[in-house]
Amino acid sequence: MSACENSGGCGSEVVDPGRRDVLKFLAVGATMATGAACDLEGFFRKSFRELSPADVRRMTTGWERKYTRKYGKTVTVSEVGPMDGVKFGYGLDLSRCIGCRRCVYACVEENNQSRKEPQIQWIRVLEMDKAHGVDLNHSDIYYDAATVPQPGKFYMPIQCQQCDDPPCVKTCPVGATWKEKDGIVVIDYDWCIGCRCCMSACPYGARHFNWAEPSLPAQEMNPKTHVLGNRPRPKGVVEKCTFCIQRTREGLYPACVEVCPVGARKFGNLLDPESEIRQAMDTKRVFILKEDLATHPSFFYFYAT
């Protein structure tokens, strides 16, 4: 049904913009009552995981057409699934990160996040005191020094930890978010009702809400998208890091890994002992964030020196 809203001209204007999208179906009801031709199939479709591959393809082809029209460039919406024998893992070298935020903006561009109002950034970089060590209560994400790193400070980027026991998935009342075989926790943007239970359940602040229609300038839109990843989101849904699902399922490194100027970011297959992530885990001092919560993240912080 969000597909319906996106296409415009569907009569979605009838909805009071201040209302929660949990009432979306009202809008559709109103739309249909006024007799406008709309994407009924999108509204009445089954949950993503109950669809046949053919149904999914039909759906993604529809989006491809719609986004291509909307953004004025050829947009692809991939639905490629997890690879056999692959479980993704991510490593972040705290002894290297200098807090430059290159990763933040590379992620925004790659993943079509809303630029402003609402501004959505899946990666947050925390500045902390070396003297205190990892102490989230005394961290600052708004640091704005002329240059980094600042003396006496260290930097800790945080994004979705792709937990093996994800509290967000457990809490979602409609099953709009789940964990895929390769370890990526995904969201079906059309199934999400925008209740934000998952946001309050996530101990890492990794989930972000589209309070308004996302602002995504057409010329900046990344046309290579995945249905469970960086395809344009409607207003009123939750989104988060997907390990760049549209890249990593094609074998590419995530965008943040490639942009980091100090090589602090490592990515690979946890089931392959030769992978960079496994090499880091096997040879360095590693920790996971908020281990006591037993979320079992696939994201590992380490110190290479």
Partner: protein
């Protein structure tokens, strides 16, 4: 109202079966790709290589191996911070063939393999770099990739990282207009 009830029923009934559903995205079989690894090119100043364009034994005669202040390569000499107290050009650059480097053993090393030279002192970094833990690779995590040489990130004459200007901090929620634009 009827629509609302229908939609609600739909939402609830679908929610009930989620736990047992199978993802429709099919699992992709991957053959282990041939690991093609190539390196970035050494970052020469344009037009500077081959060095023998100027450092030509046939033209210039004998090499003077004594450590001294040179009358050329000013920008390198003025920003030389790599154990500058104890070292100078010919500790790494080969006296007799300026188009290559040399190890302490005297063995020649091409510029494309300068990591062997760096690894003589920085053995722990060299070891980590070979494993992919130090440094950076781009391309495919499961196949073809390009790795960066030590000198693609570190200026060999002044290897410490220069500090950077950070990109802008996020907008504070209090400064963000949440509802309307």
């Amino acid at each position: 109202m009827l629509w609302m009830a229908a939609a609600l029923a739909l939402t609830l009934s679908s929610a009930g079966v989620i736990g047992t559903a199978i993802p429709p995205t099919q699992v992709v079989k991957v053959q282990k790709k041939e690991k093609l690894i190539e390196a970035e090119k050494p970052p020469f100043t344009e037009g500077i290589f081959p060095c023998s364009q100027c450092h030509n034994l046939k033209v210039n005669g004998k090499v003077n191996p004594t450590r001294r202040e040179l009358q050329f390569h000013d920008e390198i000499q003025s920003d030389f911070h790599h154990d500058s107290e104890n070292r100078w050009c010919l500790d790494c650059h080969d006296a007799n063939n300026r188009d290559v480097l040399h190890l302490t053993s005297g063995a020649a090393v091409p510029f494309t393999e300068s990591y062997k030279l760096c690894g003589q002192c920085h053995g722990d970094k060299y070891r980590d770099w070979k494993r992919g833990v130090h440094g950076k690779r781009v391309g495919q995590w499961n196949g073809e990739k390009t790795y960066f040489l030590c000198v693609n990130c570190h200026n060999p004459h002044s290897p410490r990282f220069k500090s950077l200007k950070p990109l802008p901090p996020p907008i504070r929620p209090s400064d963000m207009n949440r509802g309307k634009r």
